[in-house]
């Protein structure tokens, strides 16, 4: 699969529209989920997702296959855009979340689970929260998450375990 992905990325770098489309299809869900979990509202998540793929076009020429996972590289772009958006709209996020909870087109239960989970994740320290977002929302492997966070795979596993334990204690609090 890695071999296939590297071929697709190489073609995309040369301007192959089909390859670019394949990259989009393969990573859209991960990018959207990560962005949504990071910024907390659908409107900004949409902007972040869209801009992530546009930035991919601008920077794909500079991407080198030197033990750098492509997905992690893409998530890094989304992460930086999400940080900028989150800082800009920090005070509006809560309000928007509450409004979108009333959206009858959404699956209310899933939405509530999502919002509850995100609110619990926000109570973790930054590294623990980041690990869980990368592992469960962006769908990165331990190796890819280690590259993203510039640490070892072992550290990622340890942080994930500690994050899950803390999350559990948060959920079980009365």
């Amino acid at each position: 699969m890695h071999h296939d992905l590297s071929e697709i990325v190489d073609k995309a770098k040369k301007g192959d529209l089909m390859a670019l489309s394949q990259l989009y299809e393969a990573h859209f869900s991960s990018i959207y989920r990560y962005a949504y979990a990071k910024v907390g509202n659908k409107h900004d998540a949409e902007d972040v997702t869209s801009n992530t793929f546009l930035k991919m076009l601008d920077n794909i020429q500079n991407f080198e296959w030197q033990n750098v996972p492509f997905k992690a590289w893409l998530i890094r772009i989304a992460h930086n855009l999400a940080i900028d958006t989150f800082r800009r709209n920090a005070k509006e996020n809560i309000g928007e979340t509450q409004e979108s909870a009333n959206d009858i087109e959404q699956k209310v239960l899933d939405k509530m689970i999502f919002e509850d989970t995100i609110s619990f994740l926000d109570k973790l320290n930054e590294n623990h929260k980041q690990v869980l977002l990368l592992r469960f929302f962006a769908g990165l492997s331990c190796k890819e998450a280690a590259f993203f966070m510039k640490t070892s795979e072992e550290n990622i596993r340890i942080m994930q375990y500690r994050a899950l334990k803390t999350l559990r204690s948060q959920i079980e609090k009365p």
Binding site: N62, F136, L164, K165, L167
Partner: protein, 300 residues
Amino acid sequence: MKNPDEIIQFIEYAAQGGRVSVLANAVSEKNRQEAKALEPVLENLFLASQIDAPGDLKAKIKEQFIVNARGWSKGRSRSVVLFPRLSYARKSIAVLAALFILSMGTAMASTSAMPDSVLYPLKRAIESVSKTVAGQQGRALQVLAFNERRIAEIKYLQQTGDPQGIGQLVKEINLNIKELRKLMRGLGPEQAKKVKSKLDKFESGHASLLKPERPEANKGSGNTADTKNVGKPSQKPAGGTATVNKKPAVKPKEAKAVTPKKDKPNAGANSIMKKPAIAKPKSPAVIKNNNTGKPQNINK
């Protein structure tokens, strides 16, 4: 409600994170209990992470992405990708440096270009720009230097046989010298002296090139730079300096006739005015003696 099998698969996936996998395949009771305790958390995470974008959002963003990708792809295919491993910034710097070196090299090569060369217009353009930005003394020295170049070009054209080109260059040299004299008036005494000595050296060194061949060329004039008549039939009487060609030869005489007012006694050989012989009134005694027929010394 999500498929329980999916949840289990998800937990197993999460369990690949090391310690949790150990817990999932727990040997001791304590570890099994810990794994069991984390299951609800993992289940929540699983459900939360399955949030999907609205149905049309993916297509909408893709449409925009493909439009941009087409434009990016076209622009990319037109350009030649040089040094693909270099970053964009480094490539830009390399291109700018190459352009700078190329332009400097071309400018330097153009300084020796002759009138029939393709670089000759560039040479003349560079000269006019450098004259514009230079100060007064710098400009004067540049004009002298450019005159030397014109001389070199004249010699070149003499070999190739282009009398018309030679005439134009000589005319230009004359105009430059005129300009130079004007510039010298605005310089300090030391600077003007320096420029003048260079100009005199230039004129004396290239008198034969600049001197017109026709007989009505300047004779007796202090300035040999009167080359207006070279190559062209003279329609004006030659005489005087190049700067005073317009004045007829008669004027200097008239001017001299006006000036002497005070220094009467020693008018010299050039003096035109002679003292009129004014007869002094004779004393009665003298008059009487005049009847003897002897010449009287009237001017006393």
